[in-house]
Subunit: 189 residues, 2 copies
């Protein structure tokens, strides 16, 4: 396996630091130390901490596996449930400590940086659209009984998920995620 | 009207700073400057920034007006809806920029400070219990048709609200809160 480039090492290190201490709690020096490179070399690869954070979000977005939402081997509602279960398992790996990077950055930075707010906004919109598309398919297949539209449900579920993840970060257990699935099943049964 | 004490001025100033820049983005110097007092006098009143943040959360908790949830002049479901509408109006006053201080601190600090995580956890629990109690009354009055228990619903609604507030902070408009009410009405109709 080829050695990861310094750029990749920096993105990995920043991902770790941002998850642990947030954006404002992480200095460029922390990222350089975690990556095992001199501080100056961070600026050879990234203009500033925001540019690095945007690339970390890109990598995080890939790890959300939105392509699961297009797997037509599963019926729409079980497919959507499997997607959220995948996200839950990912949170469990880190003892619910990390939360969602989109939610974390959205909460911490929306007031401080219009650029970061926009980055989070567009990624959450993309995810919401992918969820809504699955719900559109469920509606077409006649398996949605709620009078709520796929759009209403899709937007609501993404936000409710973010809230459950936030609460799990505070309680350090999966009860809030289980609670999400209880209502998911009730709404989409 | 008596002049506010230095302690009160500091709590007000810290509330503003924490809302605008979060905990890690706010220095003791920022709080002192906002309050118009010398930096040293902060430490005459508070041991550290965490102690000040806990007092800010107490003041924020009072502003949530949980007592609205005990107003038996309104039937349970409309009373609960009025409570969330009150919270929505409070967010609107600040153009959805602030979010919820519990959610903000929970997201930013759960990994950094067990003390702050505990402070947020206990306040969210208290709020969840108050919401659940209203839903218990709705169930007793026969006005809840969902098969979900009041406990399941209460926990879910608080978390879904936090998620909607987070999203509104990112979108800077009330659409995510309206989406919350759409599903609230659907679940509790």
């Amino acid at each position: 396996m080829p050695r990861p480039s310094v750029r990749e090492q920096l993105v990995d290190a920043a991902m770790e630091c941002f998850h642990q201490r947030g954006f404002n709690g992480t200095g460029i020096q922390d990222i350089a130390r975690t990556a095992g490179v001199p501080k100056g070399s961070v600026y050879n690869h990234f203009e500033n901490k925001e540019a690095l954070a945007a690339e970390v979000m890109d990598r995080y977005a890939v790890s959300r596996k939105l392509e699961m939402l297009q797997d037509e081997g599963l019926a729409p509602v079980p497919r959507l449930r499997a997607h959220f279960q995948y996200l839950a398992a990912d949170l469990e790996r880190f003892s619910y400590e990390r939360g969602c990077m989109f939610g974390n950055f959205g909460t911490e930075l929306s007031n401080q940086s219009d650029m970061m707010r926009g980055e989070v906004d567009s990624r959450l919109d993309l995810w919401t659209s992918a969820v809504t598309e699955v719900l559109d398919q469920a509606r077409e297949a006649g398996t949605l009984t709620t009078p709520l539209t796929p759009g209403q449900l899709g937007r609501f579920l993404v936000n409710a998920w973010e809230g459950a993840v936030l609460r799990a970060k505070v309680t350090r257990n999966r009860a809030p995620l289980d609670g999400f699935f209880d209502v998911f099943d009730s709404l989409l049964a």
